[in-house]
Amino acid sequence: MAQIEMKNVQKFFGQNQVLKDLHLTIENGEFVVMLGQSGGGKTTALRAIAGLETVTSGKILIDGKEVQDRKAADRDIAFVFQSFSLYPHMTVRENIAFPLRAVRMDAAERNRAVNETAETLQIAQHLDRKPSALSGGDMQRVAIGRALVRRPQALLMDEPLGVLDSKLREQMRAELKRLHIARGSTSVYVTHDQIEAMSLADRMVILHDGVLQQVGAPDEIYLKPSNLFVAKFVGSPVMNVVDVQIDGTRVALKGVETDFSFGEGMLAGLSKPGAGIALGLRPEAILLSHEKTKGYSEAVTTNIEPLGSHDIVDVRLGEAILRVRTASGFVGGEGQTVWVGLDTAQAHFFDNQTELNLRGAA
């Protein structure tokens, strides 16, 4: 088990800068999930930690020791690839034993380690088969087994569930969590599935265009996004963002007659000239009412998505379309008039120019 640090890490592929001044500390035994869009540099960051990619500048430390110039083999880190990359010409047993052969562990001990790992991952019955004879989920288990068998300092996983179907992903997610709790190995996990990220992470790292956007516990990221990118990237449906004017304790939307009023002091220091301010509202921060209510504004529903446990209702408020989460069946259909209010405690304000959360990051 180990602590992993990245300091000022930069990575260029030719002219293309893929990692921009990355600072990150992953604590011993922590499960960190890197989340970001395609091309954000997640894989590159992970490969840099593993030693599969050299960094252009900066330091990578494992337990305080600089490793950026060490070979992958000397870093004692395990890597699980999205494609599993099990060796097709070896049986499951040989695959799992492969890392142990590198350190020339004696046969009896090796067998014991392989069997134990296979038991933990429930693949003992497949040990003598070839990987091609396994289901996707079992291949995945073998890949994780191969990574865990020599008890590495840290376990890096690059979208390990990416090619599985959604049902299996959910199941494997739970197993990974269980395994992490049992083994307590420092883990870094890359994904672009935010549900996966939220459910697995002790802490999440949001990476966009090679720049670290925010690091924090899943609820922190969700409740206090540090900038517009994080706000829009995390959460589904996407956070509603509308341009607003702020005047004292009142917030005005374009084309809406009634201003929304906030509590005394809630908007302190927010009025800002220039490019203006954006109001961010998650679908559950918007309240709907069938009757005219004080402080609410009139709006028209334009679309309903029934999702079983709840509905997502699109309403036109002034010039904006807002997506609102309601109890299922709350709105009967499109074209209905409803009254829209805000849960002011859940409102976020962003500077349109810098895109930063005006209340500061978590």
Binding site: A72, F79, F81, S85, Y87, P88, A102, V103, R150
Partner: protein, 320 residues
């Protein structure tokens, strides 16, 4: 080919099968011709129209392996009776077997030596070309090589020139360095021919092997070399087998350089077989016998590697 077939499709299918058979017959005819000729008595070999029914003999093969000369005087009855069966065949054909003056041992023709030379040169040059090609291809496939595309094109371009064009300069250079008429000389030549081909084919195969295989081995504590041998090589075997078949066929059948560069010690079978046309009257049955035997190694080699070959050919298509 599952599912329902309409009568029309059935007819298309039958036509296709008929066409394939026709093509097969056309392609197999020369093989049949050579095989038949190799077992014919000499006087039936060149009849017009061709003789189809005849009693097969092995005399062409006997003649192929022995040194013979024109029979000037008929042997006595006694001599004839005491000769072994194969010598009688030669005598019946109007020739006699040449023996060593002192020991009386039968002198063999050059065929078996030439055949051996062919095997030595082809096998070694194939192995070398495939190994070097695989390593080169691996390098190009996995590492950043400056001007990679230009290098690959350059490698390919060595095959754009018909090799015979450089035969004379090569011959002169070989004579200076003493590689004329040596196995090593031919091996170097054939390896050089085949190398560019091997690099290109193997590059395709190695590109198809996910680099995660080696990377997994690298993080698991292996060196790049170990990863290559333990992980890449087993995956590349199919491609290497396919490449080897092609290299072997090229080397085995090579005629022009073998003719120019060798004459006795290292001569391979291809220039030797037709040279027999010129000794006395051409005996086509002997040439056919030599050709027939010459076909066998390639057939065996290809047959042994057929599974790899088929998989090799469809490699890129089937993989995800």
């Amino acid at each position: 080919m599952a599912g329902v077939r309409t009568p029309r499709e059935k007819w298309t299918n039958r036509t296709a099968i008929a066409a394939v058979f026709l093509a097969l017959i056309i392609m197999l005819t020369p093989i049949y011709w050579i095989t038949a000729t190799a077992f014919k008595p000499r006087n039936l070999a060149t009849t017009i129209p061709p003789t189809v029914f005849f009693t097969p003999e092995v005399s062409p093969f006997v003649k192929l392996f022995t040194k013979r000369s024109q029979l000037r005087e008929q042997p006595t009855q006694e001599e004839y009776e005491s000769a072994p069966w194969w010598e009688k065949m030669v005598v019946d054909g109007g020739e006699k077997v040449v023996r060593n003056r002192k020991t009386g041992e039968v002198r063999s023709s050059g065929y078996s030596d030439r055949f051996k030379n062919s095997l030595i040169v082809s096998i070694i040059s194939t192995v070398v070309a495939v190994c070097m090609g695989t390593l080169t291809a691996y390098g190009f496939s996995r590492f950043k090589v400056k001007g990679e595309d230009d290098w690959m094109f350059f490698i390919l371009s060595t095959r754009m020139l018909p090799p015979v064009v450089v035969a004379i300069p090569m011959f002169l250079m070989y004579r200076v360095v003493g590689l004329n008429d040596t196995h090593l000389g031919l091996i170097i030549l054939y390896t050089a021919f085949n190398l560019s081909f091997a690099v290109w084919i193997m590059k395709g195969f190695i590109d198809e092997i996910p680099k995660e295989y080696e990377e997994a081995a690298l993080v698991d504590g292996y060196t790049r070399m170990q990863a290559f041998f333990k992980v890449v090589l087993p995956e590349a075997l199919t491609g290497m087998a396919a490449t080897a078949v092609f290299c072997f066929i090229t080397a085995w059948n090579e005629y022009a350089f073998a003719l120019i560069m060798t004459n006795r010690n290292a001569q391979t079978a291809p220039p030797y077989i037709p040279s027999q046309v010129g000794s006395g009257l051409p005996d086509w049955t002997v040439i056919a016998a030599g050709t027939l035997l010459f076909l066998i190694p390639v057939a065996i080699f290809t047959f042994l590697l057929r599974n790899h070959l088929l998989r090799g050919m469809s490699f890129g298509a089937i993989r995800k």
